[in-house]
Amino acid sequence: LALYFHIGEREEKCIIEDIPSDTLLVGNYKVQRWDIHIHDFLESAPGLGMFVTVTSPTGEVLLSKLYGPQGTFTFTSYISGEHIICFQSNSTRFAVIAGSKLRIHLDIRVGEHFLDESAIRAKDKVNEVNIRLEHLIEQIHHVTREQDYEREREEKFRKTSEETNSNILWWAIVQTLILISVGIWQIKSLRDFFISKKLV
């Protein structure tokens, strides 16, 4: 668990994962609290937990659990899209205490399938290669799923561009029509006005 960052005690930090459907996501985290007295992060603060909330692209909450100071959470996506993973500590202390912050170590893995333990212990070379090949096939399926999802996204992109194009055309026509009709109305109205005022 190498990469870490700091947040305030009551702050919520979210990361975004844009993943295809049927993809497994595994997250490992570790949280430490800053101790004012020893001016360092405590190895493990008692009672410190972490709320992990995972929201699907449609806004539905997939996972919302309180974990301990160190833990692993997993979920499988049902829909392709941007999943939002949020972390918030269950600390009830107010952030008014100066210098109070948390250190979160994070490690997120997407689409990883755990190698069968037997592969490592396989003395039989053929078996080992077999299992590695099966693992490879699983990885390639993940690549295919990503590419299918990419195709969907590109289609959405193209639709947006075409919509912009027709929007511009449509609104240009509408504005020109408004311009012409209002111009005609202006002249007519003014002419009638001047005639009625006996100036013309």
Binding site: L3, R109, G111, H142, F157, T164, N167, W171, L190
Partner: protein, 216 residues
């Protein structure tokens, strides 16, 4: 071969990684950087490890962000302002905690979504040559080439995904902007032209009353 996300320990190399001295790790995170905010990430790196930091701004404003990478002594290794995308490779000159920060402090109201990929160390070889008596078999060398090919597939896929997300974000911005501006323009057009006529009419009406008063 490498799935997205932190790529090490790679499953087929679980045993190998346990034996290897240097651990190869990669962390990639996509996060939202609010306006006027700065977000820093830290990582402990051993001396002599080759590391790569790559980042890209996906959505928000002018799609740029400030980035800064410092070594444990505070020496700035990399500093760029308002960059959309960059990749920086360096070798750790000493042990310690390296820090890199993304800053959106120059922006007043746009949130930025930033993606970064920080890779530490090289991937250990698929079939270690320490306790080998023979050269790699055909099967094994085929495995190695598939592994390398898949690594670049994942790499290209990630880059394409980010570029596409950025393009789509721009297209959606453009679409909303065109819609709002067009509606606004149409309304302004109507209001101004109708207003002009009534204003002109009001000029002549006032003159009328003035002439009558002067006359009497």
């Amino acid at each position: 071969m490498l799935p997205r996300g932190s790529r090490g320990p790679l499953p087929p190399l679980l045993l190998v990684w346990a034996l290897a001295a240097c651990a190869a790790r990669a962390s990639e995170i996509t996060f939202e950087l609010p306006d006027n905010a700065k977000q820093c990430f830290y990582e402990e790196i051993a001396q002599g490890t080759k590391c790569t930091l790559e980042f890209q701004v996906i959505t928000g404003g002018h799609y740029d962000v400030d980035c800064r990478l410092e070594d444990p002594d505070g020496l700035v290794l990399y500093k760029e302002m308002k960059k959309q995308y960059d990749s920086f490779t360096f070798t750790a000159s000493r042990n310690g905690t390296y820090k890199f920060c993304f800053s959106n402090e120059f922006s007043t109201f746009t949130h930025k979504t930033v993606y970064f990929d920080f890779q530490v160390g090289e991937d250990p070889p698929l079939f270690p040559s320490e306790n080998r008596v023979t050269a790699l078999t055909q099967m094994e060398s085929a495995c190695v080439s598939i592994h390398e090919a898949l690594k670049s597939v994942i790499d290209y896929q990630t880059h394409f995904r980010l570029r596409e997300a950025q393009g789509r974000s721009r297209a959606e911005d453009l679409n909303t902007r065109v819609a709002y501006w067009s509606i606004g323009e149409a309304i302004i057009l109507l209001v101004v032209s109708i207003g002009q006529v009534f204003l002109l009419k009001s000029f002549f009406s006032d003159k009328r009353t003035t002439t009558t008063r002067v006359g009497s």
